[in-house]
């Protein structure tokens, strides 16, 4: 593949997706009839699917034909120097604005990622949006959303990156109005308003951090591009200055807010459930990974850690993210909110991998000049990154599958309230079974894909035991222990949460009898994703080379994971004195044996059925007559042991202090407080009060006051020019 092809591909992407956006958003004004709108929405979905395919082709073609470490850099726009008319000797160089695109292994991986899900979700939406009068709008905005994510991935200039991020916010934020358009009730309107406000405020706060961070970073490295410049070489990496730490803090805050890292996770479960299902899946499964992509790009490749605690802080925050969010997922009243919390929980697992990578990256850098353990930590960095990226892909697959299932459930029953759902497995076996596959994958059970990435993450921690002990860095070791503790708790609670979710929604008698059927396109999309869950779990060799390529292209040139057809092995050299290695391997044989034996045993039991020893009988409930309405176990009761620790009696007043929900009701008398939302409500209250007070003083409406402001401003500018001249 030559640069010319890449240019054509990118041009086609922009063209097709912009066309789709216009078809969905603008053209319906010209063709307002229902048939016209319907046709336009179909066309917009086709363009979205095409956009996805082109992205797949671009990423796949690049990976297939271009060798390691060879990136395509395309400069689309190079601003000319500006010559000031009054002073021809001064030229102003617009260094910040060249529009540079770059396609390397990591970008190609994310292109594949976005492209695949754009295609799958466009296919799903074909059925899901069939009877929706707002289909054209949803489909059009979806096109723009996909385009903006491509733009973020390909842009290699900090300034344009910020623009692309802003486009991403707008494209998705536009769709936050969807639920309040569908449901005109008071409650839905309020939720919609809060969601839009929250999302935009959060995005812009993050943008403020990112802007200041990127400006400082560009000044520090001397280039607005994500490249290693002479001022940013490895030699000065080891000792960080205060400015370095400030940049790290700003960028971590900016990216962390967008990724939903603790304590900024509150916006995800508020904003996401307001979206239509297809965009919701895209946002949770794909958009939340964009900050992860940027973190790897910035903190691993361009601006490697200057202090050991960079990775440490990220690791602790990641563990906290996983644990807190899985807990609140457990008490969420509806399916969408619970899945949104789980998305952030998985971001925690991914960020744990990235945090470990940063920790090892620093160790690796400090050992760059002759110290022992250089190779160990280089390989460990690669291992942690591969684990993080594997989980990124996995989470995309199973979370999209779960969201599609949620869309189906809503389509069939008209609700996503967990208490109102039951018996989906009977109502629609296809939806039920694929949802179950997704649930088992997200819990990380073999033989599904979640297991592989969790195993890799655990291996990254396990290897670091010996490596960090040899280096004598016990604080780092304690950090990994804390990470393991929080992650272990999060894994166990995820299992509990998904038994609860699957039990409540899928099992039992169907409460609502629906005559609606699931359209074929939704079935196909879900089937493909469920298959992918199994494929990535049984044949990690499909994905691992791509991940290695991505890791190689961000400058970590070793491989830690070997995947063959039957095995997945981790081996890390531990250095002196006798070329010792850490090695571990998973084999497909037990997994296959598991499936085979299950089939055989199942066959055996069915043989028994053949011998007519089976009979239907009453449900045994301790001698009582079983009454399913009264005696069925509820999800709240199932998770009782976990939430009861934090539960408290219902507060007397129901008047909310702020816009965010402070409690989740778990039973008639008891609630579980959401601590973070309480603090945020206080913060919002405080901000409003302060601005009111300050506003009354500074904006009193007295014209003399305003004249004085003008005078003061003039005076300040005058003084500034006087002093700055010298």
């Amino acid at each position: 593949m030559s640069p010319r092809w890449v240019m054509w591909g990118i041009g086609a992407l922009v063209g097709v997706l912009t066309l789709g956006f216009l078809l969905g958003e603008w053209a319906p004004r010209r063709f307002p009839s229902p048939r016209g709108r319907r046709a336009l929405s179909r066309m917009a979905l086709v363009t979205a699917a095409l956009g996805g395919l082109i992205g797949l082709g671009l990423g796949g073609g690049y990976l297939a034909t271009v060798g390691k470490g060879q990136a395509f850099v395309l400069t689309l726009y190079e601003p000319r120097d500006v010559v000031l008319p009054r002073a021809p000797e001064t030229t102003v160089k617009l260094v910040a604005f060249p529009l540079v695109l770059r396609l390397d292994g990591l970008a190609a991986l994310f292109l594949l990622f976005v492209g695949f899900f754009a295609f799958a979700l466009a296919l799903y939406s074909w059925g899901w949006l069939r009877d929706d009068p707002r289909a054209h709008w949803v489909a059009g905005a979806f096109n723009l959303f996909v385009l903006s994510m491509y733009a973020v991935i390909l842009t290699y200039n900090m300034f344009w990156l910020l623009l692309a991020l802003e486009l991403m916010t707008l494209a998705s934020g536009h769709l936050l109005l969807y639920r309040s358009e569908v449901d005109r009730g008071e409650e839905a309107q309020r939720a919609g308003r809060i969601a839009v406000r929250t999302y935009f405020i959060v995005s812009h706060v993050s943008m403020a951090f990112l802007m200041s961070g990127f400006i400082l970073l560009a000044l520090r490295t001397g280039s607005p591009l994500f490249t290693l410049t002479p001022r940013n070489t490895m030699q000065d990496v080891v000792r960080g200055s205060l400015m370095d730490h400030v940049i790290f803090a700003l960028l971590l805050l900016g990216l962390g807010i967008r990724a939903g890292m603790v304590p900024f996770h509150f916006w995800v479960p508020i904003a996401h459930p307001q979206l239509p299902t297809n965009t919701h899946a895209m946002m949770s499964a794909v958009m939340l990974k964009i900050p992860v992509y940027l973190m790897i790009r910035v903190f691993v490749q361009v601006y490697p850690p200057r202090a050991w605690w960079w990775g440490g802080v990220l690791l602790l925050l990641a563990g906290g993210t996983a644990l807190f969010n899985v807990f609140y997922a457990l008490v969420s009243p509806d399916l969408k909110r619970a899945l949104a919390y789980h998305s952030v929980e998985n971001i925690g697992i991914i960020l744990a991998g990235v945090g470990l990578a940063l920790l090892f990256r620093y160790e690796w850098l400090t050992r760059a000049y002759g110290a022992e353990g250089y190779e160990t930590f280089q390989t460990l960095t690669a291992l942690a990154l591969v684990a993080a990226l594997y989980h990124t892909v996995n989470h995309g697959v199973f979370k999209t599958l779960l969201f599609m299932g949620t869309g189906n459930i809503e389509h069939l029953t008209g609700t996503v309230k967990l208490k109102a759902l039951s018996g989906v497995l009977r109502l629609s076996p296809w939806t039920g079974l694929t949802f179950l596959v997704g649930a088992m994958a997200i819990v990380g059970l073999p033989p599904f894909n979640g297991f592989i990435s969790e195993w890799l993450t655990l291996q990254a921690i396990f290897v670091s035991g010996e490596a960090l002990s040899r280096a004598g860095h016990f604080i780092h070791l304690v950090l990994t222990v804390v990470a393991l503790l929080t992650l272990g708790g999060a894994f166990a609670l995820t299992a509990l949460a998904f038994v609860k979710i699957a039990g409540e929604t899928l099992l039992g008698p169907p409460l609502r009898v629906s005559s609606r059927r699931t359209p074929w396109s939704m079935r196909v999309a879900m089937g493909v994703l469920a298959l992918l869950c199994v494929l990535l779990g049984l044949a990690p060799g499909v994905l691992v080379p791509v991940l290695h390529r991505a890791v190689y292209d961000v400058g970590v040139g070793t491989t830690a994971v070997q995947a063959t057809r039957w095995t997945l092995a981790v081996s890390v050299p531990l250095g002196q004195p006798r070329q010792e290695m850490y090695s571990a391997a998973l084999s497909l044989v037990p997994a296959l044996a598991l499936i085979l034996l299950a089939v055989l045993a199942g066959g055996g039991v069915l043989m028994l059925r053949w011998r007519r020893v089976w009979q239907r009988g009453q449900v045994w409930a301790g001698g009582e007559r079983f009454d399913p309405r009264r005696m069925r176990y509820s999800g709240t009761a199932f998770s009782f042991m976990a939430w009861e620790i934090l539960a408290r009696p219902t507060p007397p007043s129901e008047i909310p202090v702020g816009p965010l929900p402070e409690y989740y009701r778990v039973s008639r008398r008891r609630v579980v407080p959401e601590f973070f939302n309480r603090w945020y409500n206080r913060l919002i209250r405080f901000t409003l009060d302060m601005s009111e007070r300050l506003g009354n003083v500074f904006q009193s409406g007295d014209i003399r006051l305003y004249l004085m402001y003008i005078f003061v401003a003039f005076f300040v500018v005058l003084l500034a020019t006087l002093f700055l001249r010298r």
Partner: protein, 314 residues
């Protein structure tokens, strides 16, 4: 080598109820009863095999799938501790790729628990779900400890593959940290295996059941699968602890190791039987204390291990 491993899984499958029978008999003897014969579990199994299966009204296929998958998981636990291969003195070519990874144990136990929880939820009767919700509570407390104890083992042996554990020669001092980690693992396994003080394995009161709860809804061969699976799990735990103790004491390979393994295994069986007659079941919320102790022990063992590795190499 795969052939040996699978033959061993067959042996593991056949021997598992014997361990359970031993525990039952010994416990009865400690209480001055005659108790059941050692091979009683096999007789029970034979009986159950010939019973019919009653499927509750309203249950789906998950009801049948659950015990089958859970049973298979327990069977594969045997694959994770291939004793004959572990005791050979030869260094094993390609042993790594047998994939006998100790981390798998955590996930196999998790899979069994998950699928059984769904299966009993499917039935609708509250006792099963009550029991499995308690299992998940125990798991949430036990899993961090389990992983940290494994962290100590992997740090000691530079692998999570049990076949390679004896390939690394570590000094005697490592045994201290390893034995502490094993102690933490004992507590975790008591909880995972549904033994006292976490769960009373032969209670008949439904409201106090943990492990027994899910089994309440089952009958005939399906119940047999659950019972046999529980026996295999217990056998795995005992074997794993015995093997780890033997290699922590640096008895590696050959007849000496085999003898020591049998001895330590019997020691654990006796300790379990005697211990269970002395300890009462803890109230549900009180179990946090032993788990906290196990967690602290695991962390201590890891820190000791880290210092030992550091002094050895640095």
């Amino acid at each position: 080598m795969y052939v040996y491993a699978f033959i061993w899984v067959g042996v593991f499958f056949l021997l598992a109820p014997l361990a359970l029978g031993l525990v039952h008999t010994l416990r009865a003897r400690v209480l001055a009863r005659r108790g059941p014969r050692v091979w009683q579990p096999y007789l029970d199994a034979w009986k159950l095999l010939h019973k019919g299966v009653v499927i509750p009204r309203g249950a789906t296929m998950l009801y049948v799938v659950g015990p089958i998958v859970a049973f298979t998981c327990s069977l594969l636990l045997g694959y994770l501790i291939p004793i004959p291969l572990l005791l050979t003195r030869r260094s094993l070519q390609g042993a790594l790729f047998l994939g006998a990874d100790v981390v798998m144990a955590v996930y196999l136990l998790g899979l069994a628990r998950f699928i059984m929880a769904l299966a009993v939820w499917d039935v609708g009767a509250p006792f099963g779900a009550l029991g499995s919700s308690r299992q998940f509570f125990f798991q949430a407390l036990a899993e961090p400890t389990f992983l940290i104890a494994l962290y100590t083992l992997t740090t000691a042996y530079r692998t999570s593959n049990i076949l390679l554990f004896t390939q690394v020669h570590r000094p005697w001092s490592f045994s201290v940290a390893l034995l502490i980690a094993l102690f933490a693992l004992i507590i975790v396994f008591l909880a995972e295996g549904g033994r006292l003080p976490f769960d009373s394995p032969d209670t008949h009161l439904e409201l106090t059941m943990v492990e027994g709860g899910p089994a309440l809804s089952y009958s005939g061969p399906l119940w047999l699968l659950l019972e046999w699976g529980a026996a295999m799990r217990l056998f795995f735990f005992l074997l794993f602890l015995a093997y780890m103790t033997v290699i922590s004491l640096r008895i590696e390979g050959g007849y000496a190791a085999a003898g020591a393994l049998v001895l330590v295994f019997l020691l654990f069986v006796v300790a379990l039987s005697v211990g269970e007659t002395y300890v009462g079941k803890l109230r549900l919320r009180r179990v946090v204390a032993p788990f906290a102790m196990a967690l602290i022990l695991a962390i201590i063992s890891l820190l000791i291990m880290a210092v030992l590795v550091n002094t050895l190499t640095g």
